[in-house]
């Protein structure tokens, strides 16, 4: 159906974007590979030399590497769990007829507009502070000892903050999907006497599978690189992820070589995850 000429034109139209993105991904990658094999301490440039694989060695043997690798993956999974479970529940709830649905929807989606630095600061101080935070007051009101969130459950605390920001996203997508669920289907199922649970299992959930894969794909892209929340709440040592570890190599240690090596390791991890996602999710999307 597409003509030869049209095809050439189409290819031409895609060219600028491909070129821009190729430059954007390849030039930094090439430079990162270059620096990864260089001993280059930013504030000690006289002492720069070819370092072989030693940057990789030092990055991997960093006392925080194993933990941060684990945290990177755990944080993604934790937030995905929070947003998908919460999103399904919220979507079903919001799909019900009620008064003031518009306002409720505004309240639910608002966290999505908050910039990560703001939400991290607000949660860290106003909500989760163990002395003056809102939760501390609530805990004390019930006669309990307030939780010291960032000290005792750092990863979960970060997960809650990030989850709060991403829950609206999941809810909106799932809600839109639910609303497209045929009304007649719902009614028919109700007339058949299908219970709520059965209905959910056999009709709602299968219908939501596709939007859920979209949520997983898009959120994972952002969640692999959570940064502001960790930096601002200063839990880098307790619940840092790879992004934070690389950042700290560069900004605290000024070690360009090791940071570049760490960055490459993070790139490999991201590629593994994205290959996996593309396989699972991409197929589902194209179908």
């Amino acid at each position: 159906m597409a003509t030869r000429q049209g095809q050439a034109l189409g290819r031409l139209a895609v060219a600028p974007a491909v070129a821009a993105l190729a430059a954007w991904s390849i030039v930094p990658l090439a430079l990162a590979i270059y620096y990864a094999f260089l001993h280059y301490q930013l504030d000690n440039p006289d002492n720069t030399f070819f370092a072989g694989w030693s940057n990789f060695y030092y990055f991997v043997t960093d006392p925080f590497f194993a933990k941060d690798l684990f945290n990177t993956v755990a944080l993604v999974l934790l937030v995905l769990a929070i947003t998908i479970a919460g999103g399904v529940l919220l979507a079903i709830l919001l799909d019900r007829p009620m008064w003031g649905q518009g306002i409720v929807r505004v309240m639910v989606i608002s966290p999505f507009f908050i910039m990560p630095t703001v939400s991290a600061l607000v949660w860290k101080n106003l909500m989760m502070h163990p002395v003056y935070g809102f939760f501390a007051h609530v805990w004390r009101a019930f006669g309990l000892t307030p939780v010291d969130w960032f000290a005792s459950i750092p990863l979960l605390s970060v997960g809650i903050i990030v989850g709060w920001q991403w829950l609206p996203f999941a809810t909106l997508i799932l809600l839109t999907a639910l609303q497209s669920l045929d009304l007649e289907q719902k009614d028919a199922a109700q007339m058949d006497g299908a219970g709520t649970v059965d209905f959910f299992r056999h009709i709602t959930l299968p219908h939501l599978m596709r939007p859920i894969t979209v949520v997983i794909l898009i959120e994972t892209i952002f969640l692999l690189n959570v940064f502001a929340e960790i930096k601002v709440t200063s839990v880098g040592g307790l619940a840092g992820n790879l992004t934070y570890l690389v950042f700290s190599q560069l900004n605290d240690a000024n070690d360009v070589g090791e940071a570049a090596a760490g960055g490459l390791i993070a790139v490999v991890l991201a590629n593994l995850v994205s290959a996996f996602l593309v396989r699972i999710v991409g197929r589902n999307l194209e179908a």
């Binding site: 597409a2 009620m98 703001v118 909106l172 497209s180």
Partner: protein
């Protein structure tokens, strides 16, 4: 056939939904309250939030301490310009991929062959670099040649993929951890990297990109470009092909096809893409925190200045937070409907 629910049931659902909505909104609500309290009162919330006096002084302090309007201006410039620039790249690309899809790779080589080619080029690059002792700082031409040697095969590979793979590749560039790209980008922006600096008599080192719009706008554009293309592509694909065919039959040229037929149908999609992109750039924090500090510093930077000032700062922090999020949140509220469409990335109909 509309469903009827009993009044009691509806009331119950309303109550539950409002309760949950309020819980989600609560941190923002609480920030809003603290912003209008004195510092001492902000620390004694929630016991006194109804009884303690309200004040506007925090906003005045924040404005005096850091020039809020300047940051709003910077954020807006970066968000809007990068979005427009992004559309200029994305609209043709999405059009090309949606209406002139390529169903098979334009160069037929097996995956193994490609892998070998790429490996060969990388090995040659590395060998040359190693043979000059990995010293490239004063060798701009050699550095550029090596980057091309390294990058061109990759670009060629992408270029010849079929449309679906191209799209996924574009999306995968978004998965690249920014931490990995930070150092190269910082050094390029500083004009002090491997290449880009000394070109014979010309020293580009005087042209700093750090903390300038000239650096931040293209950067932000590239950050969000994959998502913009992806969204536009899904919208464009929904436009029935038959209409275009019909227009062509009637003798419409390419320009008319684009302006008269395609554009009107694409506008809602473009609008919601634009909106989402503005929100994403507004809230971006990694690159802005690392690459700006005043002249092009956006609101995410403004707020980071309140992360740990001296002494009690919650009321000021709350006021600053409110000021930083209010514009985009209000925009989001009013354009909710378009946004929902945009947010679903066309994957849900």
């Amino acid at each position: 056939m509309a469903r009827r629910e009993s009044l009691a049931k509806k009331s119950a659902w309303t109550l539950v939904a409002w309760a949950i909505g309020f819980v989600m909104f609560f941190p923002i609500f609480w920030t809003g309250i603290a912003a209008f309290k004195s510092e001492a009162d902000a620390y004694s919330l929630p016991r006194t939030w109804l009884t303690s006096p309200w004040t506007l002084e925090n906003f005045a302090i924040v404005q005096a301490r850091s020039n809020y309007l300047q940051y709003v201006f910077n954020t807006t410039v970066i968000a809007v310009l990068s979005t427009l620039l992004g559309l200029a790249f994305a609209i043709p690309a999405a059009w090309g991929m949606a209406f002139q899809p390529e169903t098979k790779p334009s160069v037929n080589l097996s995956g193994k062959a490609w892998a070998l080619i790429l490996l060969f080029f990388f090995a040659v690059t590395a060998a040359i670099a190693l043979s000059v002792g990995w010293r490239m700082t004063d060798n701009p031409l050699l550095g550029l040649a090596l980057i091309l040697l390294f990058g061109l095969p990759i670009a060629a590979w992408v270029w010849t993929r079929r449309t679906g793979d191209k799209l996924l590749w574009m999306l995968s560039t978004k998965m690249m951890p920014p931490a990995g790209a930070l150092i190269p980008i910082y050094l390029i922006f500083n004009r002090n990297g491997l290449v880009f600096r000394q070109w014979g008599g010309v020293d580009l080192g005087d042209w700093n990109l750090i903390d300038t719009f000239a650096g931040m706008v293209p950067l932000m554009m590239l950050l969000n470009l994959p998502i913009v293309i992806w969204m536009l592509y899904t919208y464009f694909k929904e436009i029935p092909f038959e209409i275009l065919e019909a227009a062509r039959m009637d003798g419409a040229g390419l320009w008319q096809e684009l302006s008269k037929v395609l554009a009107p149908m694409a506008v809602p999609g473009i609008a919601s893409t634009l909106l989402l992109n503005v929100i994403l750039s507004w809230n971006e924090a990694f690159w802005t925190l690392n690459l700006t500090n005043k002249n092009a510093a956006p609101l995410s930077f403004f707020i980071s200045e309140y992360s740990s000032p001296e002494g009690q700062f919650w009321a000021k922090l709350s006021a600053a937070s409110l000021m930083a999020i209010a514009p985009i949140m209000v925009l989001g509220w009013f354009s909710q409907r378009q946004l929902v469409r945009g947010l679903t990335f066309g994957a849900v109909k």
